[in-house]
Subunit: 514 residues, 2 copies
C-alpha cells in the first residue's frame, strides 16, 4: 500500500494476485488495510485538500503530465506485471497504457485551459432600479477527497491512474484509491508513478493513497468516512448499488459515480444487413470477442427484423463465433459469473443457442456464445435484459418495426446503442428509433462498434440507470471533471480577496456579463 509518501504494509489479511491463465497464485502478498490505514489515508487526504486545491491550474497540469511520464518510463514493468495478473495480451495492455497516458495529458490540457473553473463574472450595477445589482462572481471548486475504485476490466485506463483518478486530480480533489484485488502488483507500480510525481512536482503528500483489502470491508469503510466527498466506481451492479446505499445513509450524503451494467443494443437495419452482412458479422464478432467480451460496451443485444437477411447474417456470425478460440477471463469470479449467465440462457426454453466457441484448454476460459430469441420472448422475460459480462450476445428477432420500437422502449438504461444503417434504409423509422434511444443511452453510434471508447471532449460514457448511478455525467472524457466540482458565488468581494481566476483581467477564461 501507498499512503502519501509512505510505502506501508497493511495489518490485515493479505491479497494475492492469481494468474488467470494458469490459476496459480502470484507473489508477493499485499497485506490489506485496517481501520488505522483507512484513517491515515483519509486524514492525509483531508490535510492535503486545502493546499492541493489552491495549486494553480498550471501546477496541476504539470503534476498530471509528470504522472504520465512516469508511467511511460515504467511501461515495461507495468505491462509485464499486468499481463501476469490479468491474462490480457501485451499488445492490448500496451494500447491501454498509451490510452492511460494520453488521458492524463488530455486532463492536464483541460485543467491548464481553465475552462473547468467555469468562471462567470457579473459586475455591479449600482444604478439599477428598483434595486442595485451587487458584483457577483462564480467559480467551480473541488468537492474534497475522492474515493476511486480500481476496475478489473481496465487494469490501467480505469484503475489506479485511470479516468476517474485523472479527472478527480485534475478537478483539484485528492484521491484515495481502493486497488482492485485482481491486480495489486500493477496497482502498486502505477501508484508509485503517482507518488513519485507528487514528490517531484511538490504536491501535498496526501494527494494520493492506494489501499488494498480483501472483501468489501475496506471499500465500505472508506465510502462511509466523513472526509471522503465523492466516489468513482466502475464494476458490477451489485457493487455500485451497495456504494449508493452507503453514500445515501451517511450523515452527509455524497455523490456516487458508479458505472455498472449495460447490454448495448445493436440495431441491424434491413438494407445494411442485405448489403454488407459479412463485414458487419466480422466487425461484430471482433467487438464481442475481443478481451473475452469484458467491456462495459460489449454488444450484448443484436436486434433486427426476422427475415432471410437476418437468417443468413446469423449463420455467418455463428460460424465466426464457433470458430473463435476460448480466451482467458480476468478472474475466476468473472468466469464463474459468465458461466452461470450462459447456463441461464441455455436453460431458457425461449432462447436458441446458435453457436459456441471451441473447447477450453485452461482454467477461466470464456467460450463465446451466440443466442437468439424473439422480441416477444424478450419483452416477456426480464431476466433476458440482464448483462452477461463476457463474450455472449443475443440476437432478437422482431416481426415488425413497431415491435422493434416497443422492445427499445422496454430496455433499461444503457451506455451505448448502435445503428447499422445504409442509405436505402428507412430513415423515418430511424428517426423514430433515435427518439426512443436518446432517452435510454449515453452514446448512439452509427455503422461502428460500441467497444473502443474515444477519450475526448465530446465523449459520453454514461447513461440512465442502471448503466450508471448518475445519468448527468460521463466517466470518460473531459466532461468527467465536472463530477468533482461544485459552484461557489463570491458577492461584493474586495478585489484582492477574490480568487485569481475571478479577478478582473485574469488569464482564466471568464463569462462576463455587464
Amino acid at each position: 500500500m501507498i499512503i502519501g509518501q509512505s510505502f506501508i504494509h497493511g495489518s490485515r489479511e493479505a491479497i494475492h494476485a492469481v494468474n488467470p491463465v494458469t490459476g496459480e497464485r502470484l507473489g508477493p502478498a499485499y497485506p490489506g488495510a485496517g481501520p488505522q490505514e483507512v484513517d491515515r489515508a483519509c486524514a492525509l487526504a483531508e490535510q492535503a485538500f486545502d493546499a492541493y486545491r489552491e495549486t494553480t491550474q498550471e501546477a496541476r497540469a504539470e503534476f498530471l503530465e509528470q504522472v504520465s511520464e512516469n508511467l511511460a518510463d515504467t511501461r515495461l514493468e507495468i505491462v509485464e506485471r499486468a499481463n501476469l495478473e490479468t491474462g490480457l495480451p501485451n499488445p492490448r495492455l500496451e494500447g491501454e497504457l498509451t490510452r492511460t497516458i494520453n488521458q492524463l495529458r488530455l486532463f492536464a490540457r483541460e485543467t491548464r485551459s481553465g475552462r473547468c473553473i467555469g468562471a462567470t463574472v457579473e459586475t455591479a450595477l449600482p444604478d439599477r432600479a428598483p434595486l442595485p445589482r451587487p458584483d457577483i462572481r462564480l467559480r467551480y471548486v473541488p468537492l474534497g477527497p475522492a474515493l476511486i475504485f480500481g476496475a478489473s476490466n481496465f487494469p490501467l485506463a480505469f484503475s489506479v491512474a485511470g479516468g476517474d483518478t485523472a479527472s478527480a486530480l485534475a478537478a483539484g480533489c485528492p484521491v484515495v484509491v481502493k486497488g482492485h484485488s485482481a491486480h495489486p502488483g500493477t496497482s502498486e507500480l502505477v501508484g508509485l508513478c503517482i507518488a513519485k510525481a507528487i514528490k517531484t512536482t511538490g504536491m501535498p503528500e496526501g494527494t494520493f493513497s492506494l489501499l488494498f483489502g480483501s472483501g468489501n470491508e475496506i471499500g465500505a469503510s472508506l465510502a462511509a468516512d466523513p472526509r471522503i466527498k465523492a466516489i468513482g466506481f466502475t464494476g458490477s451492479r451489485s457493487g455500485g448499488l451497495a456504494l449508493m446505499n452507503i453514500a445515501a445513509a451517511r450523515a452527509e450524503p455524497i455523490p456516487v459515480y458508479a458505472e455498472m451494467s449495460s447490454v448495448n443494443p445493436v440495431y441491424l437495419l434491413p438494407e445494411a444487413l442485405k448489403g454488407r452482412a459479412d463485414s458487419i458479422a466480422a466487425g461484430l464478432s471482433n467487438s464481442m470477442l475481443m478481451g473475452s467480451g469484458q467491456f462495459c460496451t460489449n454488444p450484448g443485444l443484436l436486434i433486427a427484423r426476422a427475415d432471410a437477411n437476418l437468417a443468413s447474417f446469423s449463420t455467418t456470425l455463428a460460424d465466426l463465433v464457433a470458430a473463435a478460440q476460448p480466451s482467458t477471463m480476468l478472474t475466476s469470479d468473472i468466469y464463474q459469473a459468465f458461466e452461470s449467465g450462459v447456463a441461464r440462457l441455455l436453460k431458457n426454453p425461449h432462447v436458441e443457442l446458435l453457436a459456441k466457441a471451441g473447447d477450453k484448454s485452461g482454467p477461466n476460459q470464456c467460450r463465446a456464445h451466440l443466442f437468439a430469441t424473439t422480441a416477444q420472448s424478450f419483452l416477456a422475460d426480464p431476466s433476458l435484459h440482464d448483462e452477461i459480462f463476457g463474450s455472449c450476445s443475443l440476437i432478437i428477432r422482431c416481426k415488425t418495426n413497431e415491435e422493434m420500437l416497443e422492445l427499445t422502449a422496454a430496455l433499461d438504461g444503457q451506455l451505448t446503442a448502435t445503428v447499422m444503417m445504409d442509405q436505402d434504409d428507412d430513415s423515418s423509422f430511424v428517426r423514430r428509433l433515435l427518439k426512443v434511444l436518446e432517452r435510454k443511452v449515453g452514446r448512439i453510434l452509427f455503422n461502428g462498434y460500441p467497444t473502443g471508447v474515444e477519450v475526448g471532449h465530446a465523449m459520453v460514457h454514461g447513461g440512465p440507470f442502471p448503466a450508471t448511478s448518475n445519468s448527468r455525467t460521463t466517466s470518460v472524457g473531459t466532461e468527467a471533471l465536472w463530477r468533482f466540482l461544485r459552484p461557489v458565488c463570491y458577492q461584493n468581494f474586495p478585489h484582492d480577496l477574490l480568487p485569481e481566476s475571478l479577478k478582473d483581467g485574469s488569464s482564466t477564461p471568464q463569462r462576463v456579463t455587464f
Copy 2:
C-alpha cells in the same frame, strides 16, 4: 387542479387556504388529487416530453415569455389572493412577482442563447495513428418530466412558476407541480397563466400540471412515479430527506434537488464593528426581521470577537429587535415550529436572551428574538446548530480568532456566509476564514446581507448538505438549468440525422475541436 388543459376537481380531501392574519379559513375548497389524477398528470407529462423537448430553443423562450406576460396581466388578482393566503404585505408580493417575471425572462434568454445545449463537436480524424478518431458530437438533453414542489415562503418566486419550474421548462422538461397547501388560490391563478401560455404558443398539453393534496401522500406518490425523472424542492430538512429516501428507493433512482436548511453565519470583524456598529445593526435587524425572517438566507448566526465593540453592537441590535413589531408568519405550522425553536433556546442554560419583540396582537405572529452564547457552548451543543425558521438570531462570542476558525470548521453546510470587514481588519485572518468557508457554503458575501438573492448567471443558491441535497448545483440563477440536463454523445452520425444544434454551421454555439 390543472391537468394539462383541463381544469379538474380532485376526488380526495380538499385543502383550504387559511388567512394567517386572522386565522380564518378562506374559500373555495381545493379538492385533493387521488391516484387517478396523479396517473393522469404523469401520463400527460410523459406523453408531452418527446414533443416538448424537440421544440426549438426559440419556441421554448417564447413560451416562457408568454408565461411572464400572463403573470404581468394577472398581477392584481395574484397579489390580492397571495396577500390573503400568506399574510405577506402587497409591496413584498409585488416585488416577488416582478422577480418571478424577470426570472422567466432570464431563463428565456438563456434558452434562446443555446448555451445550455453544451454543444461540443469533435470531427473525425481518419488518418490519426494508431487509431482513427470517429466524428463525435455531444449535446445536453432534458431528463424527462420533473416534479416541482411549491415552497411556502416564496409563494411566487419559488412556487408554481418559480425558479425550479422555470429552469426545468427551459431545459425541456415537462413539469408537474405539487402546489403548496398554504396558497392554493395563488397557485391556481399562476398555474392558469402557464396553462394559457401552453395553449397560445402551441406547446404540448402535458407540459404542465398542478396538483393539490393535503398531507404528504400526493407528493410521495408523484415522487415515486416512474415517469418522473427529477425532483425540485425548497422546504424543511425533514421534507427534503423524505424525498431523497423515496428517490433513492425507486427502481430507477432519480436526482433530488432539495434546498433545506441553513443558518447563514455572519462574521463581524473588529474594525467593522468599531467603525459602523450602528449601520451594521440596522442592516442586520432589517435582514432578520423582514418577512418575519422566513428566508432560507436569514442571518441566524452572528459571530464576533467578545470585546467592548461587540457588547455595544449587541445592545444596539437588541434595542432594534425589542422595538420591532410582531409580524404574521406564513402558516400556523411555521409559527408553531418557530415558537418551539425559540422555547428550546430560552430553556438552554448556556444561551442568554438579549431581546424579544413586543407583544403579539393576533394569531401566528412572530416575535423576533435575539440570543447570545459563547463559541465553546456552541461547539459543545449540536442543537444550537439547527435552523430556527423565522426572526431569530444567535450572537456567538469568540475569545480568539482561532476559536472563530474552529467554530467555522464545525458548522454544517450553509447557503451563505457573510463577512463584515473594514480596510483595517486583519486580511490574513480573513483569508484563512475564507478557506474554511469555501468548503462550507454556496455563496460568500462581503459587507452586505444574505437575504435578497440576485437572479443571474453567477448566482449560487446552494451549498453542502444539509443546506441542499446536492452541493453541485444551484436553485437560483441560470446554472440551475443544468440540474435537468444530461449529456448524450452522437458518434459517426449521418449528417442529416444529427440534431440541428450539432450540425455543421448550426447557429447554436458549439465548442469545436479539430
